[in-house]
């Protein structure tokens, strides 16, 4: 079970990273074409006029998918931020219960979010909603990816709730205490 869950979070995180790398690659190709055309125009050769149609929309959809698919992996790495000031003032014993309340509330909230994102994607599918740009992209795919990411986060939060109940502290406590670079923006 442990192995299964950890693999699930890891795959989702990797998919998210892949989405971001795809954004970089697509924009990179477009930029390269633009530079090439600039050079060709400079030496009076015919240009390629290569354009990735609807690049902006597609990158936006990839970003939405990436942001949500990475949710669980980000939680597990202790990177999602929260105010732990109050926890710092509590004894370890009390903190355990406080943590459990936080995880239970968050898990319930994210489960609700998952449900709504899923039905949002489903209605998009039924309504046959498509993007407004030059290329018709069905919106239910990126929306479904968002719902999936939220679902995995709900699982991860429940997972951590169980871990705290058993061991007294979340698995990412160490990472969360050591502040990671770049967190606040």
């Amino acid at each position: 079970m442990r192995l299964f869950l950890d693999t699930l979070y890891r795959i989702a995180l990797w998919l998210a990273a892949l989405c971001l790398a795809t954004i970089a690659s697509m924009v990179g190709v477009q930029l390269a074409a633009r530079i090439l055309d600039g050079v060709l125009a400079l030496v009076h050769l015919p240009t390629t006029s290569f354009v990735i149609l609807s690049l902006n929309e597609i990158c936006g959809y990839l970003l939405a998918a990436a942001s949500f698919l990475a949710l669980a992996g980000t939680l597990k790495a202790g990177v999602h931020i929260r105010v732990t000031m109050v926890f710092g003032a509590l004894s370890e014993g009390t903190r355990r219960y406080a943590e459990m309340v936080a995880f239970a509330a968050a898990a319930a909230g994210v489960a609700y979010m998952t449900w709504n994102l899923a039905s949002f994607a489903w209605v998009s599918f039924q309504f046959n909603e498509v993007s407004t740009g030059v290329i018709r992209v069905p919106l239910c795919y990126p929306q479904a990816a968002m719902a999936l990411g939220a679902a995995i986060l709900a699982i991860a939060l429940t997972d951590e709730l169980v871990i705290v109940a058993r061991s007294g502290r979340p698995s990412f406590r160490h990472a969360e205490d050591a502040i990671t670079v770049g967190k606040e923006g």
């Binding site: 240009t47 006029s49 354009v51 149609l53 609807s54 690049l55 902006n56 209605v123 998009s124 309504f127 046959n128 909603e129 498509v130 993007s131 407004t132 740009g133 030059v134 018709r136």
Partner: protein, 301 residues
């Protein structure tokens, strides 16, 4: 008492939004305050691309969108932005009349009721250079944000490029875009004089906004309230068309006053644009099937 939240895409100063606010006030007055419409302008409540869906689902009971924004969903939504088909207010009105039954049918199939539709001023060509013939568009970076404009770019041999409105000044200043087609209003609102020089009043087409209501929400109103809404909508439509004509004059004058070179298209350019328009109209007719043929026939009658 019923309260309706109404998301609209454009800011308070825009003539469409002013018209919507007047519409809401009219409804308030006619129903003696039993139906209150709270207008949330500039996408502050729901962003433009989500508004139609939100009304469809009942998240918000009433809303306004640019009709052609959803042209990818059904061809009928794209008729008003077929370029160089109906280029003045009179032609545009005729086109709207031909389209209306089919538009209402499409909206009804989505559980929506059309209240009214008001056009933007005609679309003109903005550029940082002089354009006298269609060949001048070849190889220039052409702002593209919907399939119809994408076709214009493709047929004119221009390079489509995507620029968001807040980014327009930077994009023109740095040469990421050379030409765009939009109304005089947008030019004034984005201070076009800061970043480009020429405006060709080509009267390409008159894209319309549509205001619609969720049918279930509408049915819940009393008969008197329904009548108040429909009558206010009728008044808003008349007022809006007049305001649009007014807007065209005000904004074109404002462009001139700001030092933009405003000109009529040359006959060569006009002929080239019309040729492109005819191709796109034929393509549109094909995509819209029988209904499309019926709409065009009714318009051309």
């Amino acid at each position: 008492q019923t309260k309706w939240d109404m998301p609209t895409p454009y800011p308070d100063g825009n003539f469409h939004t002013k018209n919507v606010i007047q519409f809401a006030a009219d409804v308030d007055k006619a129903t003696g305050g039993s139906l209150k419409i709270q207008v949330h302008s500039a996408g502050s409540l729901i962003k433009h691309p989500e508004i139609k869906r939100a009304v469809r689902q009942g998240t918000a009971p009433i809303g306004e969108i640019l009709e052609s924004l959803v042209a990818n969903e059904a061809p009928v939504y794209g008729l008003d932005s077929v370029p160089f088909l109906a280029t003045g207010y009179d032609a545009s009105k005729k086109l709207y009349a031909a389209q209306k039954p089919f538009l209402e049918k499409q909206l009804a199939s989505e559980g929506l009721v059309l209240l009214y539709s008001v056009p933007w001023p005609p679309q003109g060509i903005y550029a940082k250079r002089t354009i006298t013939k269609i060949e001048d568009l070849k190889g220039v970076k052409f702002r593209t944000y919907n399939p119809m404009i994408g076709r214009i770019a493709a047929l004119a041999g221009a390079i489509p490029t995507q620029i968001e409105v807040p980014d327009l000044p930077t994009a023109f200043a740095t040469g990421r875009v050379d030409v765009m087609i939009t109304s005089a209003s947008t030019g004034v609102d984005t201070k076009a004089q800061d970043y480009l020089t020429d405006y060709i009043d080509a009267e390409g087409w008159l894209p319309r906004n549509i205001v619609f209501v969720n049918k279930a929400a509408f049915d819940k109103l009393s008969a008197a309230e329904q009548k108040a809404v429909t009558e206010a909508a009728k008044a808003a439509e008349e007022r809006g068309w007049k305001a649009s004509i007014e807007e065209k004059k005000i904004k074109t004058d404002a462009l001139k006053a700001a030092g933009i070179k405003v000109s009529e298209p040359t006959p060569e350019l006009k002929a080239g644009l019309q040729k492109i328009g005819a191709t796109i109209a034929a393509e549109w007719e094909k995509s819209a099937g029988e209904d499309g043929a019926a709409m065009l026939a009714a318009y051309r009658k």
